[in-house]
């Protein structure tokens, strides 16, 4: 990746869907640039298009107009398979509902992204151990997700999002399903680790407390991205 190249760039992105009364634009000429290493919080009402924006940035969806560039690669020009492979290499996800794979142990959940990239062996084992320690879950490796509390599951999800050293972390309401105290702990951990590893973070949230962890807050309003206020340093 070229060092001067922003991590995420959206230019004139339009996306919407047909409805009985006509066309409903979810994103209308959305433009955004996020340099590498920046943490951005994305806020907005329910249905304002936050998840749609994450889908477009992660390559899960393709915009109807405009371009989305990740690390200099125009992903709107990529095939579905190429976008999947890009996601596998360069993006880490943290979901609201944790979405750990129930049939894999905690350690195996962490090992999965590495395995998809063909990375295994002792290096992978070491990475799993280190990240579990980093999220204060050392020794949890052999346990299955359903034996963990919500907060613990989300910490595993954070570790899973980071383990394959992606450039970009997408977190969709990562504390939305947790009590405030636990949510706060997870948020601090996410913030700390993202900065420690020098990753770019896009954080979708309703919570002002969580948004404060970001370098910049963007609001999605009428399909456009509006800078809200500089976040606290």
């Amino acid at each position: 990746m070229n060092g001067a190249e922003p991590m995420v760039r959206l230019v004139g992105v339009r996306h919407g869907y047909a409805e009985p009364g006509g066309w409903h634009a979810v994103l209308d000429d959305a433009t955004l640039t996020i340099p590498a290493g920046e943490a951005v919080a994305l806020v907005g009402r329910s249905g304002s298009g936050k998840s749609t924006l994450l889908n477009l940035i992660s390559g899960i969806d393709r915009p109807q107009a405009g371009t989305v560039t990740i690390g200099g690669v125009d992903i709107t020009a990529l095939s579905e398979r190429e976008r999947t492979l890009l996601r596998r290499r360069r993006i880490g996800f943290v979901f609201q509902f944790f979405n750990l794979l129930p049939t894999l142990t905690v350690a195996e959940n962490l090992r999965l992204p590495l395995q998809l990239l063909g990375r295994g062996g002792a290096a992978a084992d070491r990475a799993v151990t280190e990240l579990l320690e980093a999220v204060d879950l050392a020794g949890y490796g052999p346990r299955f997700p359903d034996t963990l509390s919500g907060g613990e599951q989300q910490r595993v999800a954070v570790a899973r999002a980071l383990i394959h050293e992606p450039d970009l972390i997408l977190a969709d309401e990562p504390t939305g399903n947790l009590d405030p105290a636990t949510g706060n702990r997870v948020a601090e951990m996410l913030d700390r680790l993202v900065r420690q590893f020098g990753k770019t973070l896009i954080l979708v949230t309703h919570s002002p407390d969580l948004a404060r962890h970001a370098d910049r807050i963007l609001r999605l309003q009428d399909g456009r991205l509006v800078a809200e206020a500089p976040a606290a340093a």
Partner: protein
């Protein structure tokens, strides 16, 4: 108005329409197979009844003698002696059309005048006036002046492409002859089938069949009640010795009885398909309940009662059942058209000549199918309905609750299943009952026991697999294995359905393999001669060759011994039995394996033609059906009336499931004046040229005496071909059961797909390609198939042990040596995985297409 809580359920079924459709198809296949088998069996029975009705007409009784019939003077003497009841002389024989394999007729020679009292073959109403109706068909028959004129049905004329005036060359019981088609018979009615009938004037028939002065029987029409009984007594008193009077009904019943065990076995196979179909309904409905647990929880919290929930689930089951049953009726009727051909062919191969011209669509047969489909569906839904209704609202909302409970149940289910098998299996093999019903109940119990062990075995095997996999490797396989266990309430059922279908295939396959092996060994021992000669050219059942052929054959160079075999169907008080007679020289004795009686004493008694009570050997099935032991006596209808014969030995015989008797040729000829031999065995001198002899014998054939000359290897192959043809129906049913279970596996996997949409989406979001997701699902499916295949082998072998040890013994009286075919077991394993992969292909494709965006959506 339909209550909203019921509407909510229906909408669920509509939303998951593919799944709903699969269960409807499952029910339809199950019901369809049962209906098809029932229709095919009923059609065969009806065909027998209507063809017999055409032959019997209004006759209530028949005066019979031995297989060679009786002198026509008996009829004349009865008439002149003042018999006051309607009598008609009849000649009856099975003939076949030369060069038209498979086309045979029941030839009936009738007296045009006497027939008016019988209304046979719709030639005129029973009791009609010969003078008033004289211009009809009977008039034509009475007016026959040309020899060899015959009337056949319009269907037969069309099939043979003949019109009045054309000639037909017929293979007769002894030789061959020609008839001229004089006209067509009136259309068949619904109650009697004339399609297989050939009608002739009695004198013409006597001439054709070379039976001068003899008739097959005399038909009698007796009034009902006391008058009839008095008339019967008078008639019996006037009969010369050696003749007997039998009711026509007993003859039809005896023929029906011949195929009963065969039909019963078919029905049992079709019920197995239904059992697998019921698994499917249970699977669908229990899944529908699990899927709707949140919905049901909400309904219960807002005040819907347990009874309402229970009823709603049952109503759904009834609707699914109704749709499946309706489809099953159509499917069954279509399938029956195909099965009836296979059933008819087996009956013709083994039992008697029969043409099934129409499918017997009886309202009762269809009603049975409807009742079975509907009650089966409701029954299969009961556990799911009970489960949904009894769970308190708080727990209904907990999705993982069912799986947790299922896992707790696993050891208990397995223990119960093992206990059931431990009790049922030995009981089936040693219980001395002669009835088949408890055996089939036991088989179903064994299948049930196996399905109860399925979940425990699945958990065990999957645990073993994840343990042997190297740590941190093969994550996909590990996920697949754990996924199978995690959704045990669904995967367990699908595996159980596949296990049932496969174990049935292994069980029935092993039984057939053992049976075939026993038959083949028996044939190799029995066929001790090198060459066999029999009437050729598509000769009818029971056709004979002239005795003069025996010395001609014996004079051929290289011939060591010529053994003529005389076979006939002889009446006993319990129905007809096949009798074969020959001179039991040492060469022939070695071909027989005695299962009861001392060989030396038995053969000495057999050869003693001067014995006060002549000796016979009874085949194993005959001894079983009639409960005969060595030393017992059996009454046979000889030319001179009933005569007792002593059973001096019981021999192994797979030639007839009805049973057979063997006796010395001289004893046979003492009691039955029946010229001609039905088969000839030729023993060659060492060094004789077999091929040259076959050519020489073939050269002896004439148009009047077509010969079939076969070497031992040819007969062996031909016999095994008939054997395989007999089990073709079973093969079709096995395939159908497997298809039903494939639908089951597909439906279970589609259910899983719905449940795992989020999991798939997460995998896709994490960077798994659709191909990798498909591989994950495929791995899971293959694991399910492997478990089913592994369990199907021991269960199938247990079923085979029961089928060979108990069912064959009780249905047919045969003792079969149990023989395992390793290739059959391997085939089952491969088939299991293959079947599961086929069933999983579509769900895997669907899961591969799961949009990753779903992972980001809220619940």
């Amino acid at each position: 108005m339909i209550p909203l809580h019921i509407q909510a359920g229906w909408r669920h079924l509509i939303r998951h329409r593919w799944l709903t459709l699969l269960s409807v198809v499952g029910i339809a296949l199950g019901v369809g197979v049962v209906i098809a088998v029932d229709l095919a069996s009923t059609s065969a029975r009806l065909a027998l009844k209507t063809s017999m009705a055409a032959v019997v007409g209004a006759a209530t009784h028949q005066i019979l003698a031995g297989p060679e019939g009786l002198p026509e003077t008996v009829y004349r003497d009865l008439r002149l002696g003042g018999a006051r009841v309607p009598l008609a002389p009849v000649i009856e024989a099975t003939v076949s059309v030369a060069d038209r394999p498979g086309h045979s007729f029941r030839l009936l020679g009738v007296d045009g005048t006497a027939e008016f009292a019988f209304g046979r073959g719709q030639m005129g109403p029973a009791g009609g006036d010969p003078d008033a109706d004289g211009a009809g068909l009977l008039g034509a028959i009475r007016g026959v002046t040309q020899p060899g004129q015959a009337w056949i049905s319009a269907q037969a004329a069309a099939a043979l492409k003949v019109t009045p005036g054309d000639r037909l060359v017929l293979r007769l019981p002894l030789g061959q002859g020609t008839v001229t088609v004089a006209g067509v018979l009136p259309d068949s009615g619904t109650d009697r089938d004339l399609s297989g009938l050939m009608l002739m004037d009695i004198a013409a028939a006597q001439e054709l069949l070379a039976m001068p002065g003899r008739i097959s029987r005399i038909d009698v029409r007796l009034p009902e009640g006391a008058a009839g009984e008095a008339a019967l007594a008078t008639l019996q008193a006037r009969l010369p010795p050696g003749l007997r009077v039998e009711t026509t009904g007993s003859r039809v019943r005896a023929m029906e009885g011949m195929t009963r065990a065969f039909e019963f076995n078919l029905m049992a196979m079709s019920l197995l398909a239904l059992v697998v179909g019921l698994y499917l309904i249970y699977n669908t409905l229990s899944f529908a309940v699990v899927q709707r647990r949140p919905l049901l929880g909400v309904l219960r919290t807002v005040g819907v009662t347990r009874a309402q929930v229970f009823r709603a689930i049952l109503v759904e089951a009834l609707l699914l059942g109704a749709a499946g049953t309706l489809l099953g009726l159509l499917l069954g009727t279509a399938l029956a058209q195909f099965l009836v051909g296979l059933v008819g062919r087996t009956i013709n191969d083994i039992y008697y000549t029969l043409q099934i011209s129409q499918l017997a669509l009886s309202p009762w047969g269809l009603t049975k199918g409807v009742l079975l489909g509907l009650s089966g569906s409701v029954l299969a839904a009961l556990p799911a309905a009970w489960e949904a209704a009894r769970t308190p609202p708080r727990r209904v909302l907990n999705r993982s609750d069912l799986e947790a409970r299922m896992r707790r149940l696993v050891p208990r289910l397995a223990a119960f299943g093992l206990l059931l098998a431990a009790v049922v299996l030995p009981a089936l093999l040693v219980w001395p009952s002669r009835s088949l019903l408890p055996v089939y109940a036991g088989l179903v119990a064994l299948v049930l026991a196996a399905s109860l062990v399925v979940p425990a075995l699945t958990v065990g095997l999957m645990a073993l697999l994840t343990r042997v996999l190297p740590a941190g490797r093969a994550l996909l396989l590990r996920m697949a294995a754990r996924g199978v266990v995690r959704s045990l309430s669904r995967t367990g059922l699908a595996i159980a359905a596949l296990t049932v279908a496969l174990s049935t295939a292994v069980g029935v396959g092993t039984m057939i393999h053992s049976f075939r092996d026993s038959v083949s060994t028996w044939l190799e021992r029995t066929l001790s001669a090198q060459i066999y000669v029999s009437p050729g050219g598509g000769a009818p059942r029971g056709a004979r060759l002239p005795d003069s052929l025996l010395p001609t054959l014996a004079a051929l160079p290289g011939m060591a011994e010529v053994v003529g075999i005389r076979a006939a169907s002889i009446d006993t008080p319990d129905g007809p039995v096949g009798v074969s007679a020959a001179t039991f020289r040492p060469s022939l004795r070695g071909a027989l394996q005695l299962l009861g009686g001392d060989p030396a004493r038995a053969f000495a008694a057999l050869a003693d033609a001067a014995r006060e009570v002549p000796a016979v050997l009874a085949s194993e099935p005959l001894a079983w059906h009639r409960q005969l032991k060595v030393g017992d006596r059996l009454q046979l209808a000889t030319d001179r009336g009933w005569r007792a014969f002593e059973v001096v030995g019981i021999y192994q015989d797979f030639g007839s499931d009805q049973g057979h008797l063997l006796m010395d040729e001289r004893v046979f000829l003492q009691h039955w004046q029946r010229p001609g031999v039905t088969g000839i065995g030729l023993y060659l001198a060492p060094g004789a040229d077999e091929s040259a002899l076959v050519s020489q014998i073939q050269a002896l054939a004439t148009p009047d005496m077509p010969l079939s000359v076969m070497r031992t290897a040819g007969i062996l192959a031909f016999s095994l071909q008939i054997f395989d043809r007999t089990f073709a129906v079973t093969g079709v049913l096995r395939l159908l059961t497997l298809i039903v279970s494939l639908v089951g596996v597909t439906s279970a996997l589609m259910a899983l797909q719905l449940e795992r949409t989020r999991e798939c989406a997460v995998l896709r979001a994490l960077g798994m390609t659709p191909g990798q997701v498909r591989r994950w699902v495929t791995l899971q499916t293959a694991l399910m198939g492997t478990v089913a295949g592994l369990l199907a082998v021991p269960v199938g072998l247990a079923l085979a042990a029961v089928l060979t040890g108990a069912v064959n013994q009780r249905a047919f009286g045969w003792t079969i040596a149990f023989k395992v075919a390793p290739e059959l077991l391997l085939q089952a394993l491969v088939l299991a995985v293959l079947a599961a992969l086929i069933a999983g292909a579509y769900p895997a494709w669907r899961m591969g297409r799961t949009p990753p965006a779903l992972a980001l959506r809220e619940d």
